[in-house]
């Protein structure tokens, strides 16, 4: 029986190491990412992206995105607009400091992948699907958000755009 201890340990280590391979599909967000929004006027970008990205093209069932951006990092290119965007009237950055996206499922599509999950913005959670591609080092996604769905300055529906195209580019490293 003692003779089996070492082979058993070797087998255990072998299978345990397989989990580390699966774990290695976790990606770190690298510098140079961009989260840009375009509504004509205003347009701009967010910073402060953080979170966890677990993605394996061969194991979509175990892949997951859990990310957030810092609302106070908004940059429209204009200081006055930045201040307005962070105010109570718009994003209320003091009360809702981050915008988060947590995926619940990721599926293969004809052009790439689609992450379905919950977008939490301005205290409102809505299901969204974000189509994206992954080339091995960079995630690229694009989707549309209507600020009225998230109660962002609903008092002034005609003040600026309601619909914003969001373009996400996230380079990653292992």
């Amino acid at each position: 029986m003692k003779k089996l201890i070492y082979p058993a340990a070797a087998v255990a280590l072998f299978f345990a190491s397989a989990f580390t391979v699966i774990k290695s599909q976790d990606w770190k967000i690298a510098e140079g990412y961009s989260i840009k929004f375009d509504g004509g006027d205003p347009s701009g970008e967010f910073g402060g992206l953080k979170g966890t990205i677990s993605f394996d093209a061969n194991d979509l069932a175990n892949s997951k995105f859990s990310t957030s951006i810092d609302v106070a990092s908004i940059n429209t290119g204009n200081g006055m607009k930045n201040t307005h965007a962070k105010s109570e009237k718009w994003f209320d950055a003091a009360k809702y400091p981050s915008i988060t996206f947590t995926s619940s499922s990721i599926a293969k599509t004809a052009s790439g992948y689609a992450a379905t999950g919950t977008l939490d913005m301005h205290g409102v959670q809505k299901p969204v699907t974000i189509p994206f591609t992954f080339d091995g080092s960079t995630f690229k996604g694009s989707f549309e958000v209507n600020r009225m769905d998230y109660n962002v300055n609903t008092a002034e529906p005609a003040h600026g755009s309601q619909k914003f195209k969001v373009d996400i580019t996230v380079p990653v490293t292992k």
């Binding site: 347009s43 970008e45 940059n75 290119g77």
Partner: protein, 131 residues
């Protein structure tokens, strides 16, 4: 004559550009905010020359057209337009690579007055008939 107005505008543009460049450097050292993509030696000089040359034509036109009140009208006009131009740096959207647009008005708002200030400062050196 136009020659006098031209040299007045030219020297005013040089003075405005020098003051603008110096202020740009001081502002950078004070805030470490880099706006060199939009305001640098070239653009400050170019804008100063453009504004002062435009002022030269308007001044000459008004001084010729309104012989008695032309200069007064011009001075009011230059001051009012300079003040109205305060809205340009406040409302402009900068490239997104500039991470501190909040600090831009502090740099650019004073600069909109430099051509007019330079013009008025140098005016005593260019007094005389413009006919």
């Amino acid at each position: 004559m136009f020659k006098r107005a031209f040299f007045h505008g030219l020297t005013a543009s040089v003075l405005a550009a020098i003051v603008g460049i110096i202020y740009n450097r001081i502002y950078f050292f004070a805030t470490e905010a880099d706006f060199s993509k939009v305001l640098n030696i070239g653009s400050i000089t170019g804008i100063s020359v453009m504004v002062c040359m435009l002022a030269t034509f308007i001044y000459f036109g008004l001084a010729t057209w309104l012989k008695k009140t032309g200069e007064i009208v011009f001075n009011f006009l230059f001051s009012i337009i300079s003040f109205a131009c305060v809205m340009i740096p406040i409302s402009i959207s900068l490239p997104l690579s500039i991470k501190t647009p909040e600090l831009f008005p502090g740099l650019a708002v004073p600069m909109v007055f430099f051509p007019a200030l330079a013009w008025y400062t140098l005016k005593p050196l260019f007094t005389g008939s413009n006919k």
